[in-house]
Subunit: 148 residues, 2 copies
DNA sequence: TTTCCTGCAAAGGCTTTGCATAGGG
DNA sequence: CCCTATGCAAAGCCTTTGCAGGAAA
């Protein structure tokens, strides 16, 4: 469980306290990689398996984790923010199904060439990116059976 | 002013009415390409130069335009949705400065290869994409003067 | 005339904030 | 002990909705 160690020393060295609530919240995120949970969902999970944590505390912890680059806030267009581990090189993309609204992760990155081009042409120092593809996933294709 | 013609025939053929409010709202969007305006900003502009349009009407028009693929709703992480013309092949990306929060547009696309790869590997039929780069823009670079 | 549209205000949903208490270092 | 963190409830935003009057077709 390296990630949590790193995260907590980061908290300490930044002058923040390692509270039980923060530990629980981070643990939930770690145990649910690739789930893109909302604050509400994290809150529910926390209170299902542990003591009572206030929703406001969840929001404050998430804000802090984001500031420390432990997690990433994202938006998939459903009106609430979703969170994901930062992952050193968080070089993956998301496929969002416009039919069932499922979100899939894609390992490929391949944006390096494009990034360099943009950095030079626009004099813009890139520190991160977020790429979403919209479309219809395998499970939602009408002609799914024909493909067997 | 081709785009608005196309938009209004689309409205009619879909059974919606061409009202003055919808015309004004679309006109504002057309006259402010690349501005990524929020509903509130469109509302302000509308009431500055014209009669009174309710904010709810703006939201309803934007929702309709999005459904008809006349515009695109996006999210730049500032808590409100922003809108942009659909533009047949809306193949451009956004540079978001983490310092001044300005949003720039990039003409390059170059995602075709990646898209095909993903379509095949994940059996996902892609219909659109959205790519955001985060970083520091030219105007916010500290070493700006050294580069002259 | 009929049906859809608009404005207003109220309601909704997510997120943030104020304040008194609890708890980490 | 001191100072930050938490919980609760209230407040803040952005967005959506209900409803009665108004405007397209």
């Amino acid at each position: 469980m390296k990630t949590s160690q790193r995260a907590f020393s980061l908290l300490e060295s930044s002058g923040y306290k390692v509270t039980s609530q923060r530990q629980i919240i981070l643990e939930i995120i770690l145990n649910n990689r690739e789930k893109h949970m909302s604050a509400e969902e994290i809150h529910e999970k926390a209170n299902k398996s542990n003591a009572d944590i206030g929703l406001a505390t969840v929001y404050r912890a998430l804000e802090l984790f984001e500031e420390l680059k432990i997690i990433h806030k994202m938006n998939f267009g459903d009106g609430r923010s979703r969170y994901e581990l930062w992952e050193e090189e968080h070089h993956h993309h998301h496929l969002i199904c416009t039919s069932c609204h499922e979100v899939y992760e894609v390992a490929e990155d391949l944006l390096d060439v494009l990034e360099h081009k943009i950095e030079n042409k626009y004099k813009f120092k890139i520190s991160g990116h977020q790429l979403k593809f919209y479309g219809v996933c395998y499970n939602c294709k009408e002609d799914k059976k024909d493909e067997s």
